[in-house]
Amino acid sequence: MSDLVIETKKLTKIYGEQTAVNSVNLHVKPGRIYGLLGRNGAGKTTIMKMILGLTPITSGEVDVFGQNIKGHEKRIYPRIGAIIETPGFYPNLTGTENLEIFAKLRGTPQPNAVKNALEVVGLPYKDKKLFSKYSLGMKQRLGIANAILHDPELLILDEPTNGLDPIGIAEVRNFIKNLSVERGKTILISSHILSEISLLADDIGIIDHGVLLEESSMDELEKKNRKYIQLQVSDIPKASLILERQFHVTDYAVQDEHNLRLYDTALDMAAINKALVVQDVAVISSQICNDTLEDYFKQITGGAGIA
């Protein structure tokens, strides 16, 4: 049996003629935060819905805790807490009353489960404010409280920081991190905000147009992101000629009419600078840089960046 908490094999979803998710192989390891990163409409929510059995799978397989969710709902669902899209609640009830309904349905054994869950997300217990009067941020927090209410082993959070203010985002990020670090929860989180994923995730999956382009740990990704020397000069053609002829540099890329990148960071920059200046190429700047996750995202999606 696989030791993965979630494993998808060639997971595919087709709506009419549109392929929303194409042959996705996802591997979520226990106790880790897996960040699913992609633009809006990339297929993140559809993948999460298929994992949860909320939408039929066109082809492929999903295993959660080593089992296919279909037919094992009663055993698997109590081990999962989830927010999919904007969480909906009964508008005529307060936050506490809404959570009490879910606690009752789940048969949550802890007497203070509702109070504890609300405390974790910073919402008041037994408050008289109705859900219909909640701000978007409060609704999102209540959704997270509902997801953690029954102390699940696995959390599936679809864009949980949507609608939160910057302080709220930081708070949610911290308690998601704490849930993983202190309580060993496995978390699958999706976002279109790159900084969120880079600050939270241990493992990352980059999805674009329904295709999982990359899946690796953040550590591997950081190693993979190439170091380079960013050189800003007055005359790119002339500088290129000097680099190729005099220093035999071939691994470089011209960015625009004044910038080029040298991917061999062991080059003798003092000698290069001197040679360029001597041959009337002004060196405006030269520095060692590292590709950011955004650069990497652009590179592998072959398009514009992400927020």
Binding site: L52, G53, Y77, P87, F89, Y90, L93, L105, L130
Partner: protein, 243 residues
């Protein structure tokens, strides 16, 4: 299942429209006060009075329309606020979910007919049209119970359609068509439509009621049963598809 039913009632907190709809139970008893004052006067047979207040338009039109609206409200709200996916991952069994809604409809139907019965007694006795007679009161309560239970089962098709729809327009239109069709079919074939079958079962022993078709109580129960079973199947298919 019991937990689900309890939860269904918890969800109805602060829903004023649910209480407002109960006012419809007072319509026929109040109308009777004006009718009997102008037409019949005092000294009316209690059964005749109750026939007018509780056994006529209330089971034929008012109660089915009110229950149809309730079915629509119960299903529409969860769709509107995108609650179903949260319920399915609890997990909540789809048939148990459907029947917990039905339990609310059934309890509401009983309450509605009890309000009608109470209002009938009060308006009749207080206005002096009928004497207070325990035998007729028990008869009224028994008939009201029969009406409430059978009507709740008879509106199961509306509940199933409401479960299959995201919007409320179709279930509301269906409620009206379904109710009036039941009323019309009462005069054509009582055993085709659950509401007309319900009328056949309830009205057969009410004095002064004459049917122009042969009475067949098993056929009436069969009609209600077949429609209820078909509704449950439709609801199950719709809820499974509507993940």
């Amino acid at each position: 299942m019991l937990k689900l039913i309890q939860v269904e009632f918890l969800k109805l907190r602060r829903r004023k429209f649910i209480w407002l709809m109960l006012l419809a139970a007072l319509f026929m008893p109040l109308a009777a006060v004006f009718y009997f004052s102008s037409v019949k006067g005092t000294g009316v047979d209690p059964i005749m009075f109750y026939k007018w207040t509780a056994f006529s338009y209330t089971p034929w039109i008012i109660l089915p329309v009110v229950l149809g609206m309730l079915c629509t409200m119960l299903m529409y709200n969860e769709n509107q606020y995108d609650m179903l996916k949260q319920l399915w991952i609890v997990p909540v069994n789809k048939m148990a979910y459907f029947f917990s809604k039905f339990a609310v409809v059934l309890v509401y139907s009983i309450c509605f007919m009890l309000v009608t019965a109470t209002a009938s007694i009060l308006t009749g006795v207080l206005s002096g049209y009928i004497p207070f007679d325990s035998e007729s009161v028990l008869y009224l309560l028994r008939k009201c119970m029969e009406i409430s239970l059978l009507t709740a089962f008879a509106v199961l098709p509306v509940l199933a359609v409401a479960a299959a729809q995201k919007g409320y327009i179709l279930p509301v239109c269906l409620t009206l068509i379904y109710t009036f069709l039941g009323f019309i079919l009462l005069m054509v074939n009582m055993y085709l439509h659950p509401l007309s079958s319900m009328t056949a079962i309830v009205m057969y022993d009410i004095p002064g009621v004459v049917f122009d078709q042969p009475l067949n109580i098993p056929a009436a129960f069969l009609c209600i049963g077949v429609w209820a079973a078909a509704s449950a199947v439709l609801a199950n298919v719709a809820l499974v598809r509507r993940k």
